[in-house]
Symmetry: C2
Subunit: 330 residues, 2 copies
């Protein structure tokens, strides 16, 4: 416990207190000066499940643990204010002071970029490295949080950026796509290890007429199914329209996978999936610094996801999508 006190003091020295936080690390609780509505999200990252200490550096793990939570705030159109970090520390392999500095240093770098404060948390022993992050955000004046349940028949379904890079990077990191040229592999592995939360983009889309939004954490197809269920609508998704990241075709080919299926079902891209009225799409796209691609459309319910590839229906299985009937009907 004495060493827990020391560790908390070490962590407190690594982070800065920014706007919106009246009291940070060190008390029973933090005190935030945030106006309602307050937006709160939580994600757990566990070694062996979400990352591997053998292939991810401590800085990567810290970055990703915070980034995936900020991505959830982005998907609400919220501005980040504070994050709370629960760190589970394994005995083997040991977590050094340098590892702790790397983890919190990477989180603090991301926090600094987005104006938030690492305002509290917990440290404890655990059988594996665990990062439990809770992020708190607020809404700028005049902007309401964008939920998943507002998509309306007639809306178009769009996605920011490109997809498949993180899934391709995972194939490479795992040695399943070993022959990929290093210059091509590096940005893919980085996309897997160090996702970029689309915070500015979330705000622009919220202000630009988004009727529903969520982040693409478990693959475009599954997340579109979530959108369909939450909004009580049928979502049609066109595989041929999915924007594929550079290098995905090569990496998928090296691993014997279909690149379009990888792009549509691979997780961890943390792009934003947004429903927009057709009349709002062009202006939203013009306001963004990243591409905005129309990948589908919203139709009257019942809630279902319908995937097509150049008109032919495509079916999901556990690993991806198979050609065939609609997986999510009914």
């Amino acid at each position: 416990l004495q060493s827990e006190l020391d560790l908390v003091e070490r962590i407190a020295r690594l982070v800065a207190v920014r706007e919106g936080v009246a009291l940070g690390i060190g008390d029973d609780a933090a005190i935030l000066d945030v106006r309602p509505p307050v937006v709160v999200t939580q994600d757990l990252l566990v070694d062996g499940v979400h990352f591997r200490r053998s292939t991810a550096r401590p800085a990567d793990v810290g970055h990703k643990a915070l980034a995936v939570n900020l991505s959830d705030l982005a998907a609400m159109g919220a501005d980040p204010v504070a994050a709370f970090v629960g760190l589970g520390i394994p005995a083997e392999p040991p977590l050094t002071d340098g590892d702790v500095d790397e983890i919190y240093g990477a989180m603090e770098a991301l926090a600094s970029r987005h104006g938030l404060t690492i305002a509290g948390g917990d440290v404890t022993s655990a059988p594996a490295l665990v990062l439990a992050v809770t992020a708190v955000g607020s809404m700028p004046p005049g902007r309401a949080p964008v939920r998943r349940d507002g998509a309306r028949p007639g809306d178009l379904v769009c996605v920011t950026g490109t997809l498949g890079a993180a899934a391709a990077g995972l194939l490479i990191a795992d040695g399943r796509a070993a022959d990929v040229d290093r210059g091509l592999a590096r940005p893919l592995v980085d996309a897997h290890l160090r996702p970029t939360p689309r915070l500015a983009e979330g705000g622009i889309l919220a202000d630009g007429g988004a009727t529903a939004m969520l982040d693409c954490s478990d693959g475009l197809a599954l997340d579109c199914l979530r959108l369909a269920r939450a909004s009580g609508v049928r979502v049609s998704l066109d595989l041929a329209a999915v924007p594929m990241a550079d290098g995905v075709a090569v990496a998928a080919g090296a691993a014997g996978e279909d690149p379009r299926i990888l792009a549509a079902t691979g997780g961890d891209d943390y792009e934003l999936i947004v429903a927009l009225p057709p009349a709002r799409v062009a202006a939203a796209a013009a306001a963004l610094d990243v591409p905005l691609s129309v990948v589908g459309a919203v139709h009257a319910g019942p809630a279902a996801l319908e995937v097509t590839d150049a008109g032919a229906p495509v079916r999901l299985n556990r690993l991806g999508w198979e050609h065939g009937a609609d997986p999510a009907g009914g």
Copy 2:
């Protein structure tokens, strides 16, 4: 992932949405209607570290994971609004649907009692059962959060309720105090497994002039040292004044431990430690439904803890306190 969707839906059905929560489980983030200051705390509970699945039922684990966070809100004088629960699920021993129902059922029972909402979280695989809970609270009008750093020379240090029951219960649960009568053992084991957060008491003490407050989670002595460090004061603690819970003497005796040391250093009691001006102590005690005991006093710094037993100095070692010099000087 399909099963993750099912599990989240199962959990969502177990919990009710209460005042202050505009959107609960099921979106990228929850939306809270809370006015500033907003109070946020987080605690991680890990199997084998904070509990053992062999001796704690799933309902005990769920209760405790939420209770320890509510205790932190109580120590700020805050009212609970929402909790976010990250559940790490081990493959072995497997967590059944019934276990999940027990865990969230116990949390929901506690949430219902205190008017808060389990508003979100995460579920994932993990090498051991992990509960990462973040609790969010708000302040009633006219009440400011009570921090640890406000204790002033001349204040008295008081503690609610009695101490040592949880530590004695752990001795019994671990089989280290095997000969204790069952009628005596049960409430001690319950104190260890199912702590009661002192929420009403925290509010009364905040309104009653508390200059500093924290919850007693790691033992009175260590938490008084934290109070001393945060406030930059010397805290004197009198072992002879520590209010001992019923049965602690018997259980400590059966385990060959000094009961007063167990009461002063055993953790997990989740009583409140509060600094009060002497003139405010009697009224605060009268307003509470539990005893309030004066256990020490606040003196001018430098920050240190000074423990005495009938005038003789007592020294801390890793397991408890030894007679001798001050451990925390300087």
